[in-house]
């Protein structure tokens, strides 16, 4: 029941045993670099995983691999081409953002959040500013809220387009990813016209946004919206009618509703299993109650369902952008706030619906100008641990399809 009963806690964790493991030194002399079984194993799960039965071998996918979407490392126990079990190893991109945020000013904290989900940076800033506004009891101008929703939905479209393109790339299709990157480049260019940065826009501020809409952004947006629907449709029909693509994804990694909820899934991956859980409706946080859009769900819960659900979400985001442009009121985009923020001691939690699911921030203020505790909750971190459920029994090539359909961003997983 308890883990590592032999080790007194918590201060003397045994040093990494692979240094004095005789097998390791031998293999290093041979020049072999592979998943070395930890010796002795620290937990029951580790001991179970690293004991090989006959016919099985360990293969090490990552941390540098073309289709791991970053620096994810997965140790696979395979029998021939069939994956028996696998053990994801994280932390190759752990940058200590929480600790840095606890040592930074409230305003500086927001800029440190951008590189977490570097595909959808604005969604990392959003929960933080909402939590700080709760701590400060300040109200945001409605125009600022509309601008947040507008830029956020634009970024959601680009993130989903990239996810679909990489899904095709990991299955061996070369072309769709470039078509997705055309969309993504157009969107990030117009957001760069709005925010000043191309990828890590440090745009949201506590109590509003950094700047009002400008002419270049509006002209680029109108130019793009005039042909966005057609382009999205065309890019998607590259894939969702391809027989090879459909046959490789249908029935792969099927997840049911109850298990998905117990695995703390959220976002498109959860909605693809049939649960209509979308924080924009389940726990409204901005002007989303005033907007009219649907929550697409699918019942299959397999990789193909996740793929098709993202296509539906892109169409809904286009609807939301259209409404924002029509309903946006005039007025200021920043609330009146002091330069140096010292909120009252208290705790605040805020969560938003990012392209990958529930992105949350839990902030504790102790009255100083720095957050006392800053906790980041990332959805892909929780999606990744479903590998142990979905993967065994499938082939190695299926892991790439499954990983691409879950669409993790390692910057957010490894904080």
């Amino acid at each position: 029941m308890t883990t590592r009963p032999e080790a007194p806690l918590p201060f003397d964790i045994p040093a990494h045993p692979s240094n004095d493991d005789p097998r390791v030194t031998l293999e290093e002399q041979l020049g072999v670099w592979e998943a070395v079984p930890p010796f002795p194993p620290q937990t029951e799960r580790e001991a179970e995983f690293y004991t090989l039965r006959d016919g099985e071998m360990l293969i090490n996918i990552g941390p540098h691999h073309p289709s791991t979407h970053g620096v994810l490392r997965v140790v696979m126990k395979i029998n021939g081409e069939q994956v028996v079990d696998l053990d994801p190893v994280l932390g190759y991109l752990h940058r200590g953002v929480e600790k840095i945020a606890e040592n930074a000013d409230y305003h500086q904290t927001i800029s440190h959040l951008d590189p977490l989900e570097y595909v959808a940076s604005l969604f990392c800033e959003w929960p933080a500013v909402i939590a700080y506004e709760k701590l400060l009891d300040c109200t945001v101008p409605r125009r600022a809220e509309y601008i947040r929703v507008l830029s956020g939905e634009l970024l959601r479209i680009s993130s989903h387009a990239l996810a679909l393109g990489f899904h095709a790339l990991d299955l061996g299709g070369l072309t769709p990813i470039l078509y997705s990157f055309i969309e993504r480049d157009e969107i990030v260019e117009m957001l760069a016209a709005l925010t000043g940065q191309r990828m890590l826009f440090n745009y949201f501020r506590i109590g509003g946004v950094n700047g009002d809409l400008n002419h270049e952004f509006m002209s680029r947006l109108g130019d793009w919206m005039s042909r966005a629907v057609g382009q999205v449709e065309a890019n998607m029909t590259l894939l969702n009618e391809n027989e090879i693509f459909v046959r490789r994804n249908r029935g792969l990694g099927t997840m049911d509703r109850e298990t998905a909820l117990r695995m703390c899934w959220s976002g498109p991956n959860l909605r693809a299993t049939g649960v209509p859980f979308d924080l924009r409706r389940a726990h409204p946080y901005s002007v989303y109650p005033e907007l009219d859009f649907d929550i697409p769900t699918r019942e299959e819960g397999d990789a193909l369902a996740r793929f098709l659900l993202r296509i539906d979400e892109v169409k809904q985001s286009l609807r939301i952008i259209d409404q924002c442009l029509h309903q946006m009121p005039d007025g200021p985009v920043m609330a009146k706030l002091p330069r140096l923020l010292r909120p009252r001691p208290g705790r605040a939690f805020a969560a938003i619906e990012s392209p990958r699911g529930e992105y949350g921030v839990y902030a504790i203020s102790d009255g100083t100008d720095q957050p006392f505790r800053f906790r980041i909750h990332d959805p892909s971190f929780l999606h990744l641990q479903a590998f142990n459920l979905l993967m065994p029994g499938n082939l190695i090539a299926d892991w790439m399809a499954l990983n691409a359909s879950l669409d993790p961003i390692m910057g957010g997983v490894d904080k």
Partner: protein
């Protein structure tokens, strides 16, 4: 802010709480002892008028004097977030029962809390370091773990420099620890 939820919580879990129910904005906060975590969370999960079926977040907190484990739950019966704080863990040997029997997805979040704070979740069958390398010696998010003013000028800049120069043993005395006034 949902007063009905407050009444329901006090009626159902009044004896377990170690403090009053706090409510602010759209959040409701209760505090319990670490030993009561399984019972309280199972009750919150199963009660037909509570139905907190979705675990939004699991966070460890080091207040400088004690450790806390904070659970955020979501339910379709209330517009509030429910925050359950398991308070008063010993800072030298923090232990709390695991909740992987309710939410299997909490396994990695508990691993993260163990990696960052050294909190031991009894019942988690895979409690390893998840972010830092296995031979890492200290817990970065504790309040007695200090960041260097300029890492470039720190001793032994390069691979794995931080756990050598900034483990709790080498750190300065714990009088410098920021203690939370928020409690």
């Amino acid at each position: 802010m949902d007063p009905a939820l407050r009444r329901r919580l006090e009626g159902r879990l009044g004896d377990r709480m170690t403090g009053p129910v706090r409510q602010r904005h759209d959040e409701t906060e209760i505090r319990i002892g670490p030993a009561d975590v399984p019972e309280v969370l199972r009750a919150l999960y199963d009660e037909p008028d509570l139905r907190f079926r979705y675990l939004a977040d699991l966070a460890g907190v080091d207040t400088g004097t004690a450790m806390q484990v904070v659970y955020h739950l979501w339910s379709d019966t209330t517009p509030d977030w429910l925050r359950v704080i398991a308070d008063g863990l010993d800072r030298d040997a923090p232990r709390v029962p695991s909740i992987t029997f309710l939410w299997k997805g909490a396994e990695w979040m508990e691993r993260e809390a163990f990696d960052m704070f050294g909190i031991v979740f009894e019942g988690n069958r895979d409690l390893r370091r998840i972010y830092m390398p296995p031979d890492y010696r200290s817990f970065p998010l504790r309040k007695d773990f200090f960041l260097p003013d300029d890492a470039a000028r720190s001793p032994g800049a390069g691979i794995r420099q931080m756990e050598r120069s900034h483990s709790p043993r080498d750190a300065t005395s714990t009088t410098l620890v920021r203690r939370s006034k928020a409690g």
